[in-house]
């Protein structure tokens, strides 16, 4: 049975929500002794708490490479879009100029023929 198939207990749901809150709280610039003590008390209160916090921490660590990859992908996509847009604009200009030149030369030819 894979982990995604099993029922998640209420304790686990609560632990997961609290773990994300604790992770965010511990990212504050100042970590007061009160917060530290409350965090440690919560962590040791239930095995599900420790497990959930470990999961959250692991995700937080891997968010570094994942976030960089996402940003790089966005940058690449933006570059491609910009190149495509520029190419499209160039095409419009070339076609426009070309059409103008040829229509004018055509007119001239018509005039000389007349």
């Amino acid at each position: 049975m894979s982990r995604s198939d099993r029922e998640i207990s209420l304790a686990e749901i609560d632990a997961r929500a609290r773990s994300s809150e604790w992770l965010a709280a511990l990212r504050r610039p100042e970590r007061t002794p009160e917060v530290e003590a409350a965090f440690r008390a919560w962590l040791s209160a239930h095995s599900a708490n420790r497990k959930a916090f470990d999961d959250a921490t692991r995700i937080w660590e891997r968010l570094g490479p994942a976030g960089h990859a996402l940003r790089a992908r966005d940058r690449r996509r933006q570059t491609v879009q910009r190149v495509a847009l520029t190419a499209a604009a160039c095409l419009v200009v070339v076609v426009g100029v070309g059409a103008g030149v040829f229509s004018q030369s055509g007119k001239r030819r018509k005039l000389s023929a007349a």
């Binding site: 894979s2 982990r3 998640i8 965010a24 990212r27 891997r62 968010l63 994942a66 996402l70």
Partner: protein
């Protein structure tokens, strides 16, 4: 070069044969070894074979040989001595054994210098690849791709806050200013983003 068996460890047959030739390594308390062709011994007292080999080991160790190499050299020299003695008498056992061992040591050192390869067979090396196995790498890559997809699927404002904190190391106050939110709202958003990813990564 294959590891040679130790004299005395070659089974009862070989041991008995060497013992018959008066070559088995004698314990310190054993009677003094006397070469068959009794000749004046140069450095004073006659030594037992055990004393000779012990001395030789010490000298080789002092010359920078490993304990194992020294032992091999001594055993080789003893074997050569035993073979040689069968053909013609050796006048000074200690000199013969020592000279044989030193020559062998010089030869091996010369060979080792000339060849860039270790004299040890490759099977004896501990070859440890510190990189994770291809399977682990594939799993890690898949997990990272899943996480990236989760980031992309997240609410855009929450994602900006998460990445500003994680990648740009911006403080809650800085993010709050940039996003026009209160500091506690930024912290709550960050927590919500992590919770979203924890659910997203369930089973991964």
């Amino acid at each position: 070069m294959p590891r040679r068996g130790r004299i005395g460890e070659d089974g009862p047959g070989a041991g008995a044969d060497l013992a018959a030739r008066g070559l088995a390594e004698a314990p310190a308390s054993a009677p003094v070894y006397t070469p068959r062709q009794q000749t004046p011994v140069r450095r004073g007292a006659i030594r037992t074979l055990a004393q000779i080999t012990q001395r030789l080991r010490t000298v080789l160790r002092r010359k920078g040989r490993s304990r194992e190499d020294a032992e091999d050299l001594v055993q080789d020299a003893l074997l050569k001595y035993a073979l040689h003695r069968g053909e013609e008498p050796v006048r000074d056992a200690e000199a013969f054994i020592a000279r044989t061992a030193f020559n062998q040591a010089i030869d091996e050192a010369r060979r080792a210098r000339r060849s860039p390869f270790s004299p040890k067979p490759v099977e004896t090396f501990d070859l440890i690849d510190p990189t994770p196995s291809p399977d682990d790498q594939a799993i890690a890559r898949a997990g990272l791709a899943r996480l990236e997809a989760g980031l992309a699927a997240m609410n855009a404002k929450t994602r900006d806050i998460v990445l500003a904190q994680r990648l740009d190391a911006m403080s809650y106050a800085e993010i709050a200013k940039q996003q026009g939110l209160s500091i506690s709202a930024v912290e709550k958003r960050l927590a919500r983003g992590i919770l979203f990813l924890q659910d997203w990564m369930e089973g991964w």
